[in-house]
């Protein structure tokens, strides 16, 4: 409890300091080579059952029945240094509480960017996976309508970020705008047993007035080691595809997203989301949102059913086999308190069915979460 109070205090202190700082997205000093931008989410969530919610960070967010928690809050910042008009260096990190409620810092992005001209940019370093807007901008809640990311933390086949190079090209013709992105690198996977040997990703975004659509294709090669320490494969493949779109018509806003992932180990991993919002005015936007995710796990041959204990003596988890289905249905409202601050309310019903733990039978959960969030940029 003491630790929880400290966490809350640090969050509130950080919020009050940073919200009063004259820095950020719209306060760049005209002569400075340095530029700082920041964001924050103060998330107060109540769960009426034992639930796992989609996290703003890469940490899993488990809530106990009747728990009221600030644990999904997050702060982040980006520091940019411009060497000249063409070359800039970016470092971006986030601060959040881990599962033990200790404050943790994560380096999310770190890269050098070079403007090649002709609206083509090359950059090298560490990047979030540009598979879906939710995998790239998970931590920056101000950019999305909803209270939390729609894409789970492992939405890009468990890949968290990649180290490599990216090319971003813009092309415009009249009211039509295209953005092409090529990413090549080596990804960091959330599981220690997965060693990534390389990813290739290509995405295209088309934008026209109040409409945009984005697609991404990704291929990754990986090695996989069983919990028994046996190398199961040295050349596993994952194929990922995604499609996302936003359409604003009159006062309505429709968002749709779909992704499909196939690997030898998880031959089916489909995610679908849909949201309909109504902009009552410039400040208040109520919305409905639904998310569905279906995963099927195959047990690798020789992966073992009785893994040895971890170093601390706790048994290592048995590899899952079977189906895992999750559904989220939410209703909420985004209220613009100022051009840089927003307040969100969201009530969501979360249902999960898990048949992958054969020793436990079918596990089901069905609960509700209510969140109040203060989000902003500085």
């Amino acid at each position: 409890m003491q630790k929880n109070k400290i966490t809350i205090f640090i969050y509130l202190l950080g919020f009050f300091i940073l919200s009063n700082a004259r820095i950020g997205v719209s306060h760049a000093d005209e002569n400075s080579k340095w530029n700082f931008n920041g964001y924050y989410t103060v998330d107060l969530t109540y769960a009426d059952d034992d639930l796992v919610l989609v996290s703003n960070s890469k940490e899993q967010r488990s809530y106990k029945d009747g728990e009221l928690s600030l644990i999904n809050s997050i702060f982040g910042g980006q520091l940019e240094y411009s060497f000249n008009d063409k070359i800039s260096a970016f470092v971006q990190g986030s601060l959040y509480a881990d599962r033990n409620e200790s404050i943790k810092f994560n380096l999310d992005w770190a890269y050098l960017s070079y403007d090649l001209g002709h609206d083509l940019n090359m950059r090298a370093g560490r990047f979030q996976i540009p598979f879906l807007s939710g995998t790239e901008l998970r931590r920056v809640g101000f950019t999305r309508l909803w209270a939390r990311p729609l894409i789970p933390g492992n939405g890009a086949s468990g890949n968290e970020y990649h180290n490599g190079i990216e090319f971003v090209k813009h092309y415009n013709k009249g009211v039509n705008n295209w953005e092409f992105q090529l990413a090549l690198g080596q990804a960091k996977h959330e599981l220690e047993d997965v060693g990534n040997k390389g990813i290739q990703l290509f995405s295209t975004k088309y934008q026209r007035e109040n409409f945009w659509i984005r697609s991404a294709l990704m291929y990754s090669e990986f090695s996989l080691t069983s919990p028994l320490g046996v190398r199961l494969t040295d050349s596993g493949h994952a194929f990922l595809g995604s499609l996302e779109s936003e359409w604003q018509f009159d006062k309505f806003q429709l968002n749709l997203g779909y992704s499909d992932t196939q690997t030898v180990y998880v031959p089916e991993d489909k995610m679908l989301y849909a949201s309909l919002a109504y902009h009552i005015n410039d400040k208040v936007t109520p919305y409905l949102v639904g998310v569905r995710r279906n995963q099927h796990f195959e047990l690798f041959p020789n992966s073992g059913t009785s893994p040895p204990a971890n170093g601390d003596g706790t048994p290592r988890p048995i590899p899952p086999q079977g189906d895992k289905d999750g559904y989220i249905l939410g209703i909420g409202t985004r209220i613009e308190l100022s051009p840089k601050t927003t307040l969100k309310f969201q009530l969501e019903n979360i249902r999960d069915k898990d048949t992958t733990r054969v020793q436990n039978g079918i596990m089901r959960s069905d609960g509700n979460a209510f969140s109040i969030m203060l989000e902003g940029i500085f």
Binding site: D119, P130, H170, E179
Partner: protein, 139 residues
């Protein structure tokens, strides 16, 4: 309370009309003669860094929320909140950043005049120098 809002609204709108309409300007040394609404939007919303003639385009703007709101509403229909959400998406993915903000009119004029690659917007009746060329007028 209602009366206060009406008075404030009248004052704000009168101020806008008193300043004239917003025009997009470049240095008279620039090779650009005119732009359309979409070309202006593409440059100021970081969708392109080049003018239609292939020259590098550097958008700059006055650090003044009133003229900014009017300008971006005019070229994109975005409210200040929507605009901030748009910039936040670009900034935190490293795919673009807002135009450089200039603290006062004099510095803005100097930058526009001295560098033919820069492009900015000002109220039309504030152009006192023939070294600036209007390339777009809002209808």
């Amino acid at each position: 309370m209602k009366l206060i809002f009406i008075v404030l609204f009248v004052l704000v709108t009168q101020q806008s009309y008193a300043n004239g309409r917003i025009v997009v300007v470049v240095s008279d040394q620039s090779g650009i003669e005119s732009l359309d609404n979409q070309q202006v939007a593409n440059i100021f919303l970081a969708r392109t860094k080049i003018f239609p003639n292939g020259n590098h385009a550097i958008p700059v703007e006055l650090n003044d929320n009133n003229i900014r709101s009017l300008f971006y509403q005019g070229i994109s229909g975005k409210t200040p909140s929507q605009l901030n959400a748009y910039w936040t998406t670009l900034v935190f993915t490293g795919k673009g950043k807002p135009p450089k903000r200039i603290s006062d009119n004099e510095k803005l004029y100097n930058q526009l005049i001295e560098n033919p690659d820069t492009i900015g917007y000002i109220f039309e009746n504030q152009i006192h120098d023939k070294k600036l060329k209007v390339v777009y007028r809002f209808p």
